[in-house]
Symmetry: C2
Subunit: 132 residues, 2 copies
DNA sequence: TTTCTACTTTATAATGATTCTAAAAAGGTG
DNA sequence: CACCTTTTTAGAATCATTATAAAGTAGAAA
């Protein structure tokens, strides 16, 4: 099945639970943003099965480390993840805590002129806060 | 004293504790980044007095709401604040969890081309992740 | 298939930052 | 000073996340 490779690449055995998590994460047409709690609910609804939070955390973190998921840099009580792993940015609507993708092409090139000794840039992420 | 106005502007009475917090936050030559825990330690060392965490949280949040402090958008178990409230950005060194200011002039203009219906932009923040 | 071992899952406990609470203390106005 | 409101504080509560350890499963090898 198509998710086995993704799991193995992430250093995880393809178990029933993990394949179900993959289904919810990667089977949908559109990418989406989620917290671990959101994901747990979605799994319960879509797959009608209870997977323990520990397993979900474990799987999500492995995917994140491997680049199959991205963490969204934002201050919130929960950690937000994105199934869109392309190079892009976010709007954050302060009035309802919703995130909206901002494509790279909608921001234009960002040129970081300052260099830090011995360090290289891993990512450049823009967060645009919105209000009414 | 110079911090009384800042406190009153933030809707807070100038109490002994809050004036001490102001001293540590705003008396230094350079701006700095901190977590509430960092700040509590700094107060203990510099002012040699114990102010309860509840009071520090309360004061920091009031200043943040009023714009005398900024929250730094980043995923971390603790919330990071910045006494530099000018329009600027950050490097985040993943190897040691340290933040470094990135002045606006080191990034160049950022042009957000996408508009969201009925919403206005409150801030545009760039986070540049660094690694060895 | 059977066995064996390492990896998984899970419920539950532990952790740690932040928020809440309620009683005692302090601010500040008259 | 008197009074009332705000504040401080220690400690409890909350809540996301991580750790634990016992029972289950994957998968390689015989």
């Amino acid at each position: 099945m198509k998710y086995i490779e993704k799991l193995r690449n992430s250093g995880l055995r393809p178990t029933k639970q993990r394949l179900k998590i993959c289904q919810v994460l990667f089977d949908s047409e559109k990418t989406f943003h989620f917290t671990v709690n959101d994901l747990a609910k979605k799994i319960k609804i879509k797959i009608d099965s209870n997977i323990s939070l520990a397993t979900i955390y474990n799987t999500v973190h492995a995917f994140e480390k491997k680049g199959y998921l991205k963490q969204i840099p934002i201050n919130s009580s929960q950690t937000y993840f994105d199934t869109n792993v392309s190079d892009h940015h976010h709007f954050y609507d302060l009035n309802n805590d919703k995130l909206i993708d901002l494509e790279n092409s909608d921001v234009g090139p960002i040129n970081i002129k300052k260099k830090i000794n011995g360090k290289k840039i891993k990512s450049v992420e823009v967060l645009v806060k919105l209000e009414d």
